[in-house]
């Protein structure tokens, strides 16, 4: 059996391409790493700590924040698993796991270099232009440095977050292989290239026609969430709605998720992770603005949840915990860009506004665009993310990094944010559409109808989430007992 598997793999042309690619890559890496010794970099950290005694506390802060953001993968996995039917749980969990496996490899090899090359954010990141970075590949040579690698760790978990947002919107009807192909390409190209424009010294930094004002996105309402949300919208449009989501008259039907326990637990884990996401983006514990950022994050999250709760209560006369959770996520997404630049009262306003954006945004998607988004990824991440980017230009109070918005009488920042919104939607929508269309035409995007009705777990995986509910598996286990 092992021999057969090996023969099958050896006869596959794509595997030979992959092996040749890796062989050439590693030979080139071995050649280039020798030259690293000639460059100024600090792989041990000794020089860094000598130059800056605060480096230790800042490193611990940033890495602990990165680990919290990594834990958000668990939140996304649970939230999405609870939001789908029990027959699709393994599928959505697999996507969440594979997202960060592939994202990690792609971000190590070239994603990080595309994003931060030219930013001078660390050693070995000197080269890049306004469009794309070109140094820091494989974290080798000059980028083999404690500061650069600390930045990589923090940014890699961000990239994994952007990639995993898409999986929920396309859940229950997408072929796993096609989704993986897309996930690799968003991590390798779509996310890092836009990220470079905002965070890596690209063309959205120092806009000359706005007196050098830069588009500001402190922790990623646009870079992470609007990118993931826009890609989710394109993916959901391209793959089409689940069977039975829309009736013959075109009216949407409710397809409830199978576990509110998982949804609530997932939301709470995400909420916790956000305290790494936003305050961690200072990259320094010595930047005491972290207290303001943490409180702003908390206030916006609860404000979004409360408003969503009351909107649904007023509409139905009953409590809707799923919408409340989505309101919280929307509030957290919205405050991610402005969290460092605004006062707590503004955080409440920004989060509260995200409540109706999420609830009515989800309705707009279903009723007008006829899009089936089982986890409300698009309203939570795209719509709220864009609102977050815009809100910097309105509410920034000028007390941090000199960023002032409309409330301080500054209009240039608002224009910079509007330009940023246009850029993120245009780039992500076009790039995602090209990728999804290519995948649809070559590999196919959607599982056959009979597989979808039986459940993608049964057709695409070797396990199901709840074997007791599958008569043949339950029968076997009973006999064994």
């Amino acid at each position: 059996m092992l021999l057969n598997s090996a023969r099958r793999l050896a006869n596959l042309r794509p595997l030979r391409w992959a092996l040749w690619g890796f062989f050439i890559g590693f030979v080139a890496l071995a050649v280039s790493s020798g030259a690293a010794l000639a460059q100024e970099h600090d792989p041990s950290g000794a020089a860094t700590i000598e130059a800056d005694p605060n480096a230790a506390v800042n490193f611990v802060w940033t890495l602990m924040a990165a680990f919290l953001v990594f834990f958000m993968q668990a939140g996304f996995a649970l939230l999405e698993a609870g939001s789908v039917q029990s027959k699709s749980v393994v599928n959505v969990l697999t996507k969440n796991v594979m997202d960060f496996l592939m994202c990690g490899m792609a971000f190590w090899a070239f994603g990080f270099a595309f994003m931060f090359g030219g930013s001078a954010a660390g050693a070995g990141l000197a080269h890049g232009n306004d469009f794309i970075g070109s140094s820091g590949f494989f974290l080798t040579s000059g980028a083999y440095d404690v500061t650069t690698i600390e930045l990589w760790m923090f940014q890699m978990v961000f990239a994994a977050t952007a990639a995993t947002i898409v999986s929920g919107a396309m859940a229950e009807r997408t072929m796993i292989n096609s989704y993986m192909a897309y996930s690799f390409l968003i991590s390798a190209l779509i996310y890092p290239i836009y990220g470079h424009w905002v965070w890596g010294g690209g063309f959205l930094v120092d806009l000359p026609f706005l007196d050098g004002v830069s588009a500001r996105d402190f922790a990623g309402s646009g870079v992470v969430h609007a990118v993931g949300g826009t890609a989710a919208l394109v993916g959901a449009l391209m793959v089409g709605p689940r069977v039975g989501k829309f009736g013959p008259d075109g009216k949407p039907r409710s397809i409830p998720g199978h576990s509110m326990t998982l949804v609530v637990l997932g939301m709470l884990i995400l909420f916790l992770g956000w305290f790494g996401f936003n305050p961690g983006s200072t990259l320094a514990a010595t930047d005491l603005r972290i207290s303001v950022i943490a409180v702003n994050t908390f206030l916006a999250g609860i404000a979004g949840g409360l408003v969503a709760y009351y909107i649904r209560f007023a509409e139905t006369g009953k409590v809707d915990i799923a919408a409340t959770c989505s309101g919280i996520i929307g509030g957290l997404v919205a405050i991610t860009a402005p969290c460092a630049f605004v006062e707590p009262w503004a955080a409440v306003v920004i989060g509260a506004a995200a409540g109706p954006i999420v609830v009515y945004g989800a309705r707009f998607l279903e009723l007008v665009l006829k899009v089936d988004d089982p986890v409300w990824a698009v309203p939570c991440h795209m719509f709220s993310g864009l609102w977050g980017v815009l809100s910097v230009g309105i509410f920034a109070d000028g007390t941090y990094l000199g960023v002032s918005g409309l409330i301080e009488g500054e209009t240039n920042q608002l224009w910079a944010q509007i330009i940023d919104m246009g850029v993120v939607v245009s780039w992500t929508a076009v790039a995602s559409a090209v990728v999804f269309y290519g995948i649809k035409m070559t590999m196919g995007l959607r599982v056959p109808k009979e597989d979808e009705l039986a459940g993608v777990d049964a057709s695409e995986h070797t396990q199901v989430a709840y074997p007791e509910f599958v008569p043949e598996l339950a029968g076997a286990s009973m006999e064994e007992a």
Binding site: W17, W20, G21, A106, A113, S134, F137, F184, A188
Partner: protein, 32 residues
């Protein structure tokens, strides 16, 4: 310096081809 950057770019390009084969094309061929 420029030579080293060129080598890194070649390595990155090769790795992209490798990962494209591994993550995009290979799974479809393995699918039963």
């Amino acid at each position: 310096m420029e030579d080293q950057m060129g080598v890194e770019m070649i390595a990155a390009g090769a790795a992209f081809v490798g990962m494209f084969g591994l993550f995009v094309i290979l799974p479809s061929r393995l699918r039963k």
